[in-house]
């Protein structure tokens, strides 16, 4: 019981606090260190498959998780129809497979390509392995315990919501099998490691570009005119 309390209450909070605090400190004091650290410039061909598969796969899977976290009821009523349930599960597994394929490709590239090895840090390897654990345990859950999307809505979502509202209820997940438990614990570990790795790049995804003027002009003498559109579209 105490173990469960630590693993599913203490540990998640610790990791989330770590993620938020260190990210803010890192952003505030070492903004230069925020970068996607893209290595496309050094190796282009393998990255095409690795990066596209991984990113598209994981983005869609994460959006699925987010939807189930925000609207578990909607997922349950969607899953009431077996065809729709199958569609959702199949999409999830396909995207998970895509992410896995991409991830393995990226890991192989990082460990074997001579130019990429030069720009590989220890944290890069650690985070890649953790992500591998995360994706494999997720796929394992999806394939072995039917139906993941439904019990995410009945168990994981209320648990995560209980964490969110500072009213933790680890009992929702305490009796889950080992696979999903590993999945959740490695997820919290990855969240905690975000500010210590290149994963910070997804905290600075440039969505503000959508409503920005095309040209930026900065005046030294007139700070009030700092971001002044110049021309263009």
């Amino acid at each position: 019981m105490l173990t469960n309390t630590f693993l599913f209450v203490g540990y998640p909070y610790l990791m989330i606090v770590l993620a938020i605090l260190v990210s803010i400190i890192r952003y505030r004091y070492t903004p230069f260190s925020f970068s996607s650290l893209s290595s496309q410039f050094l190796e282009n061909d393998q990255l095409y498959w690795g990066s596209n598969f991984w990113h598209w796969g994981i983005v869609i899977v994460l959006l699925g998780h987010l939807t189930a976290f925000l609207m578990p009821g909607a997922i349950l009523s969607w899953n009431a129809n077996p065809v729709r349930l199958f569609l959702l599960e199949a999409t999830g597994v396909t995207m998970g497979m895509l992410a896995l394929l991409g991830l393995v490709s990226l890991l192989v590239r990082r460990l074997t390509h001579s130019r990429i090895k030069v720009v590989t840090s220890t944290m890069d390897v650690i985070i890649l392995v953790l992500l591998l654990v995360q994706v494999v345990s997720g796929l394992d859950t999806a394939l072995r315990y039917r139906w993941g999307s439904s019990w995410f809505a009945t168990n994981a979502a209320p648990y995560l919501q209980s964490l969110f509202f500072f009213n933790p209820k680890p009992q929702y997940v305490a009796s889950l099998p080992l696979g999903p438990k590993i999945h959740m614990l490695s997820a919290f570990t990855i969240i905690g490691l975000i500010p210590f790795t290149r994963l910070v790049h997804f905290l600075v995804v440039p969505l503000h570009y959508l409503w920005r003027t095309p040209q930026l002009v900065i005046w030294n003498r007139r700070p009030e005119k700092r971001f002044n559109s110049q021309s263009g579209r």
Partner: protein, 496 residues
Amino acid sequence: MDIRSQVAMVFHLDKCIGCHTCSIACKNVWTDRKGAEYMWWNNVETKPGTGYPTKWEDQDHYKGGWEVVDGNLQLKSSGKKNYLQRIFYQPNLPTLDEYYEPWTYDYDNLFSAPEGDDQPTARPVSKITGEYIDIKGGPNWDDDLSGSPLYARNDPNLKALTPEQELQLLSIEQLVMFYLPRICNHCLNPACVASCPSGALYKRGEDGIVLVNQEVCRGWRFCVSACPYKKVFYNWNTGKSEKCILCYPRVETGQAPACFHSCVGRIRYMGVLLYDADKIKEAGLRPDSELVDAHREIIADPFNPEVIASAKANGIGDDVIKSAQKSPVYKFVKNWGLALAPHVEYRTFPMLFYVPALAPVTSTQEDGTLANNVDELFAPLEKARMPIEYLAALFGAGQEGPVRYALKKQMAVRSWRRALTVGDIDIEVAKAALAAAGCTPEQAEEIYALTSLPTFDQRFVIPASHREMAIEALKNPLENKGLAGIGFREAPERGL
């Protein structure tokens, strides 16, 4: 009218000897660092040739610059519509292999090799991986055509020529070339700035220098794809983009940038241009055939009282306006029509202009002997070895008119000075040539003076920035301006 000022440039290609001193000056000052070894913010290319990175002018491949789509100016590479799908992988990004793999040599082997039958060698070692490599190319691999038309043949500008012209241009006995020194053009409508989703790139209001804020850059690489001149570079070590900063610490104190200062042929001019920012958008939408004129129309007359009033309203100082009135760049571009922007059809409106090189036929090979044709030193343009079409593809958006005008005028000024100093050309003939080139004897003298005899202070008319008016006195500049390639608050090391 929204008048702004720009530190603009002219490179007089007829004076360029292709010595690469500019490149070395820049390299030693700015890019002699890990991650930047392959970067040449200033490089000198041989034309015809493929350049650096290879075939940078082939925008079907690299998708740099702007294009007009349904009456709108859009980036060729990506825009708001599709940038998120390209953020994981840039489809048009040049990679290290399109530039070259930087290397040094294993000099130590010369001393430490064991005794043997052969001389020890210093094998090339990659500056990136530290492994031995076979050198496949360098930043100026086709320098001086490398003695063959092998590289020149792949020049994207050759599309403008007929097969006969191309054959003639590339036949080994008639091979013709000129040098094209290139730096960032610090454009009026920079594609790099518009493409950066993080908003790291910006144009400085006071002098128009385009910079990358190193603390905001996240290495999404859109700028590298978007710049049609491939003058934004990705630092593979820090994961940030970098580019020519026009030596702004020097420019701010009224000094010429390192590449300008070190130019052996004294081909470089720098001066202020006042321009009307309100005209940029409209100019960008004009058809190719009007682009050279549209570009020049953006540049405002520094003697026009309305222009001066608008400039003052924008906070441009009297000394800057005075500099604009003395600007050698204004003379070459606007008064004389001699200087042309490179590939204006990319619609970024470069602020670097080139005076196209003359390539008169001075000697021909006949029956195995060399015949000097002194009479044809001032031959008609049709006899020039470099086809006008080629120069038009490079400097005129395909239009021969502006190139022809610039070459004809240069030729006429030469005839005029020859008539005055040597006297083997009739003065009336020279005068007629001047008139035909749209030039007066007075203007010819001015062109001659600024081309052949300029002093340092005539070539570089750079007003120092007004430090006393800068926000530094009142606000923390690091928070109110971007960091720009130098002046880091933390060591510029690769992030975790």
